[in-house]
Symmetry: C2
Subunit: 340 residues, 2 copies
């Protein structure tokens, strides 16, 4: 069964397709009578305008792209959900793209999205080579970065103050009386990770403490990798009394390593994560972590992406960089060292 087109309803309603189009889009004055008649016919024929056709005429596709490292990672799936909801209520749908932080995948997806003429792209994935991005920006397809720094790309970005987040974690641990600390970071190419580490170290420095140079270990961003790295940390002669993990996945790995090593959390070891994903509420002990105000960040980013194009967008050219404050969520995985 072929879908009904604007021609079908025009014929049925006894008007031209131009009038149908005008009626639908509320343009050019169509008399109320005709308009009603047209809408009645549309309903009867179950007519749905083809966005393909109208997109070809320069209108929007009402489709957005979302680039993230991995939808199956709770942190990003939560972002995806927020984006989707916002998009949905604004009439957009979103194409989700998991990049695994691989440049080739980023590139391929970006090209795909361009070919599909999406109305904008939200990027929450690492992109060292801003080349493709810059090209896109030139082609006037709006881009905004979320929870990631735009590496030399002239795009708006909304992110968390990762430096401060690291500081928050350090202060919490310091207040609990810890002094032998370690850091578990994901690969240090990711800018947010670097900032978290820097912030953590700086807070320690301000407090007059310092981190041994071998106290920062980095690994892949997964529970498994985190577990392995944490296990090595715990096997050291001078076992740390607290570990700052740059994301919840790593923190969970650390939790598991501690369990296997028979090290009690938080009595003998404090563990603090980052991101405040659903995972952190589910572990036992529940994870103390640093939360990013994701809902707000998504809302801001979405606004920049979509309204930026809809309004006259007088300031579209001036690149915005919105930084949001993280917050400490204390749960059960951190505490004072049990008696010394």
């Amino acid at each position: 069964m072929k879908a009904t087109t604007i021609y079908d309803v025009a014929k049925e309603a006894g008007v031209s397709i131009a009038t149908v189009s005008n009626a639908i889009n509320g343009k050019g004055n169509v008399s109320k009578k005709k308009r009603d008649e047209i809408f009645k016919v549309m309903e009867r024929l179950q007519y749905q305008p083809s966005v393909i056709a109208s997109a070809l005429m320069g209108k929007k596709t009402y489709t957005l792209g979302l680039l993230i490292p991995d939808v199956s990672n709770p942190f990003f799936s939560e972002i995806a959900r927020s984006v989707e909801d916002l998009a949905h209520s604004a009439g957009y749908s979103v194409i989700v793209c998991s990049t695994d932080n691989k440049d080739e995948r980023v590139d391929k997806y970006l090209r795909l999205l361009e070919q599909k003429s999406v109305d904008g792209i939200l990027i929450g994935t690492g992109t060292e080579n801003g080349e493709t991005l810059t090209q896109l920006a030139q082609k006037s397809i709006p881009i905004v970065m979320i929870a990631r720094e735009a590496a030399g790309v002239s795009a708006h970005s909304v992110l968390t103050d990762d430096f401060k987040g690291g500081g928050l974690a350090a202060e919490h641990l310091l207040a609990l009386g810890h002094s032998r600390m370690a850091i578990l970071a994901e690969k240090l190419e990711v800018s947010s990770s670097v900032e978290r580490v820097r912030g953590f170290r700086f807070a320690l420095f301000e407090a007059g403490t310092e981190l041994g140079s071998d106290s920062i270990v980095s690994c892949d961003s997964s529970i498994k990798a985190g577990k392995k790295a944490a296990a090595a940390l715990l096997a050291r002669e001078e076992r740390p009394s607290a570990i700052f993990c740059c994301n919840d996945l790593l923190a969970i790995g650390a939790l598991q390593a501690a369990k296997e090593a028979g090290v009690k959390v938080p009595e003998q070891l404090s563990i603090i994560g980052f991101d405040d994903t659903i995972l952190s509420t589910v572990t036992n002990p529940a994870l103390t972590t640093i939360a990013q105000p994701m809902d707000q960040m998504v809302k801001l980013a979405f606004g920049l992406l979509v309204d930026g194009q809809e309004n006259g967008a007088p300031d579209a050219s001036i690149r915005q960089r919105i930084v949001m404050p993280p917050s400490l969520i204390v749960r059960e995985s951190t505490g004072k060292l049990a008696s010394g």
Copy 2:
């Protein structure tokens, strides 16, 4: 900067747009010489064909829709990732739609996807009213159901043998010597949930045991709701020694309720979940659960959806219903009752 079109490359290459089109699509014999020239120009101009335009000419949009209750639910985000990967390597992108199992959202998304002329829709969400679906099916947009039964809709479906899954859970608990059991189910409108409960009860029946009529409680599918319902169960005079939860979220709620009530798992209470999501590996104790072979299921569903249209599809009309076997994953949350 306007994007380059087929006209630009035709002009540059000194040929007609028809020839460019043929060269790109490998149709109508284009001499090797011209073809090479054309490709060179395309590269130089960074030409990317518009899928919008070719879709309008009846070609595919290379976009698929995925309907699930909620991307931020780990079970579904894992499905989404598998679908995305398969789609990606076949040249498709996927629009993710979280329906919250609400009919209105299902309907709205379905209509949206239709307007965007997606090449197919994968449905993993409850849909009581098959009406919209049936309409779509008539409009010849391919649909396949995944992990859900197609309610009276003539669409392929690939699902887990939920009845057997429930049975597996029961047998496991039975073998551990339990007799006072209870079930935590999500709203009983969801077909898969009903089957799991039925399977569980049947296995008990075969073993000569029975479930008190008040031993089946249902609630929303969330950790919070599960926790509350489980707490009520645990507060009963005749506290159950084992709870079968129809999904991991509920099981985690039960785990938390037990912790709060001071009931030790698995020593005093066994808890078994369903789905084998990442969450079940992260709890402490780790969750015993029933796994669905999701990767295989997604692969099969995707094949039905995409190849079904690409091949001559001689059997496209005969509706397939593929049922996959679940399996028991024993972790730490189930065990024999400690001494009686």
